[in-house]
């Protein structure tokens, strides 16, 4: 229970840090993009006063004391009022993001978990058969694949499998001739379009999972209780899974949470390459249009998603490790 509260406290703290960073960064920077920004908005058309206020607070237009600004900013965030988007004027930032979010969450979320599970299992296998063929090939091959930038893998896949071989579409999240709805042709199109992005995340992520688990597992295999388990005449499958892998998993789950930030960063770039209609593509749109409110709110949403995933991973560690659960030394 204390463990859950502590982790919950950390979650709240990190969310607060993210929100505050988002407030501070525009105000720390030299120059004043805020006024220019507001001027550009004015050219596009009338902005409702409430939205205008939200934009001013987000961008750091100096009105009132810093504390008043901060307070107003936090209240706006709690009410989900992030202003209107410049690039998608006059749509609100929130509605733009909410349209993109499911795309990223399902694709990146599912593939990341899949990649983690497969990579970890292969890591167990490599460590158990250490020095054998699979291990030697896998460690070198996967240190190579995991070193590739996400967007580069994406580009290579597009070139070979989409441009040359015509097996997959070059970009987008669904066929342009369909409109989003929950019918079979649309879902088929979505799955078809998501294959290359999925392969990208899978290829670049799996190396880290595999290598991390392999090294941890090798460490664990040197533990006294593994030696004793062998002496006890336990079947090697029991020793490998129940005694070694089960323990080697624990730091891996924590590392997985830590590496989520990287995975998300890479996925953002991947989406840009594929013009996949998720948050990453939206972010690059925001960058090229200098749509600061959209950019900042995206940062908040992405960060909070990562933080929530982290919290979930912590809870899983708590379930897997009795020492953590009872708040014992670790």
């Amino acid at each position: 229970m204390r463990f859950i509260l502590r982790k919950l406290g950390f979650l709240v703290l990190t969310v607060w840090v993210a929100i505050t960073l988002n407030f501070i960064i525009p105000r720390l920077m030299p120059g004043n993009p805020a006024e220019a920004m507001m001027a550009k908005y004015a050219q596009q058309g009338p902005v409702p006063p409430q939205q205008e206020k939200a934009l001013e607070l987000m961008l750091g237009l100096p009105t009132g004391s810093l504390w008043q600004q901060y307070w107003g900013y936090v209240v706006n965030i709690i009410h989900g009022n992030f202003g209107v988007s410049y690039s998608f004027f006059p749509e609100s930032v929130l509605s733009v993001i909410l349209q993109a979010m499911p795309w990223t969450l399902t694709l990146v979320g599912l593939v990341t978990i899949l990649q983690f599970v497969v990579g970890t299992l292969l890591g167990v296998y490599a460590a158990w058969h250490r020095g054998k063929k699979f291990d030697s090939i896998a460690t070198v091959l996967f240190s190579f694949t995991s070193a590739f930038p996400y967007f580069w893998i994406a580009l290579a896949l597009i070139y070979f499998l989409a441009f040359i071989a015509h097996w997959f579409p070059i970009s987008g999240g669904y066929s342009g001739s369909l409109s989003p709805s929950l019918n079979l042709p649309f879902i088929e199109s979505v799955v078809y379009h998501s294959i290359l992005p999925a392969i990208t995340i899978f290829i670049t992520g799996i190396g880290g999972s595999l290598l991390g688990m392999r090294n941890n597992m090798i460490n664990t295999l040197g533990e006294d209780y593994i030696f004793l388990a062998r002496a006890e005449g336990l079947k090697s499958k029991t020793v490998a899974i129940r005694y070694a892998a089960r323990n080697a998993m624990l730091p891996i789950v924590t590392n997985f949470a830590m590496s989520l930030g990287l995975v998300v960063g890479g996925s953002l770039l991947m989406e840009t390459v594929f013009a996949y209609p998720g948050m990453g593509y939206l972010m690059s749109t925001a960058i090229s249009n200098q749509d600061y409110p959209l950019l900042q709110t995206l940062f908040l949403f992405i960060t909070i998603s990562v933080l929530l995933a982290n919290f979930a991973a912590d809870m899983v560690t708590g379930i897997l490790d009795p020492r953590v659960r009872k708040g014992a030394a670790r």
């Binding site: 030696f227 388990a229 002496a231 005449g233 624990l250 020492r323």
Partner: protein, 322 residues
């Protein structure tokens, strides 16, 4: 019951020069005996213990010689034969302070895993057996529902002993079982162990650096130095009839013949570097009875009045006085 014949264990090294930690050891362990194995750290006593149990990693060690348990040579068995034999006939207790238990499984579960690997029993009968064993080592049977980190060092070591007995083994090898425990806990665990051995009549190989402790519980003592057994005698006589200078030194009543006063002292010098083998008696450089022959000829373990000893002092026929 268990016979060890000319056992050599060599640690492989990448440079190619292996280190022989156990060098040609012969002995036997009869039924219902409490055998102590004593020596300073690095003398190969733990390696010998694990070598007997067939627990050395063949990737890291070369083992030659025979370990015959109930007529079967452990080193000729198939993997599966060895697996089933382990713990049913021969179990081990690791050093106190080591992580002998899987940190994420309850104690009960770890006992059950062992029983399941060797037999088919109902869970309730297994739980009964665990309770019985825990009571035998003077623990509250309810601790079976604890995780290892919830137990103290002494409790863990008692549990480890209980676990070693779960399949009624013929031989239990204990490697420094009370190291890292405080003296009071050590005492009670040793007493409990010797009581259990008397009642259940399994054999014990008790490995320790503490000769005094071994003398109290064992009925026979083997002294090991640099990978060899140098003296092997009943515990009752070794105190008064230690022959090997190393045993004498270990007993702390080593007498310097040139000194006017008898004083207690440690053993000067360090054990030899075993790389590339040792010529002559490995103890020669530290021995105050050293003779020329000690540097050229390795003394063999031979019969003497009360047991076995490996020292040129006791082989008159081979000592040539110059």
């Amino acid at each position: 019951m268990l016979e060890v014949k000319d056992l050599w264990v060599t640690y492989k090294s990448r440079s190619g020069i292996g280190v022989s930690a156990v060098r040609g050891v012969d002995f036997d362990i009869p039924d219902n005996s409490f055998l102590g194995l004593v020596g300073e750290s690095g003398c190969g006593k733990s390696t010998l213990g694990f070598g007997i149990a067939g627990l050395l990693d063949p990737k890291r060690n070369d083992v030659s010689g025979k370990v015959i348990l109930d007529g079967q040579d452990l080193y000729t068995l198939s993997k599966e034969q060895l697996r089933t034999l382990r713990w049913e006939k021969l179990s081990v207790v690791l050093q106190g302070g080591m992580n002998a238990f899987n940190p994420v499984l309850k104690i009960k579960q770890q006992f059950i895993d062992v029983m399941r690997a060797h037999s088919n029993q109902s869970t309730s009968s297994m739980v009964d057996r665990i309770a019985e064993l825990l009571s035998a080592v003077q623990l509250d049977p309810r601790i079976m529902d604890s995780y290892p980190h919830e137990l103290s060092g002494g409790m863990k070591q008692r549990t480890a002993i209980a676990l070693s007995l779960v399949l009624h083994p013929r031989l239990v090898i204990l490697d420094e079982p009370t190291t890292a425990l405080d003296v009071v806990v050590q005492r009670s665990i040793i007493n409990m162990l010797s009581e259990l051995q008397r009642l259940q009549k399994f054999s014990v190989l008790f490995i320790s650096h503490d000769l005094g402790l071994v003398l109290e519980v064992a009925n026979r003592v083997m002294v090991m130095y640099s990978g060899q057994i140098v003296e092997d005698k009943p515990a009752s006589v070794i105190m008064d009839d230690a022959q090997h200078p190393y045993t004498k030194a270990l007993l702390g009543c080593y007498v310097n013949p040139h000194a006017e006063n008898v004083s207690l002292k440690g053993i000067p010098g360090t054990p030899p570097d075993l790389r590339g083998g040792v010529q002559g008696c490995p103890f020669a450089p530290r021995c105050s009875f050293v003779m020329d022959v000690c540097f050229t000829k390795t003394p063999q373990l031979v019969k003497c009045e009360n047991g076995l000893v490996a020292c040129h002092l006791y082989r008159q026929d081979e000592v040539t006085v110059e």
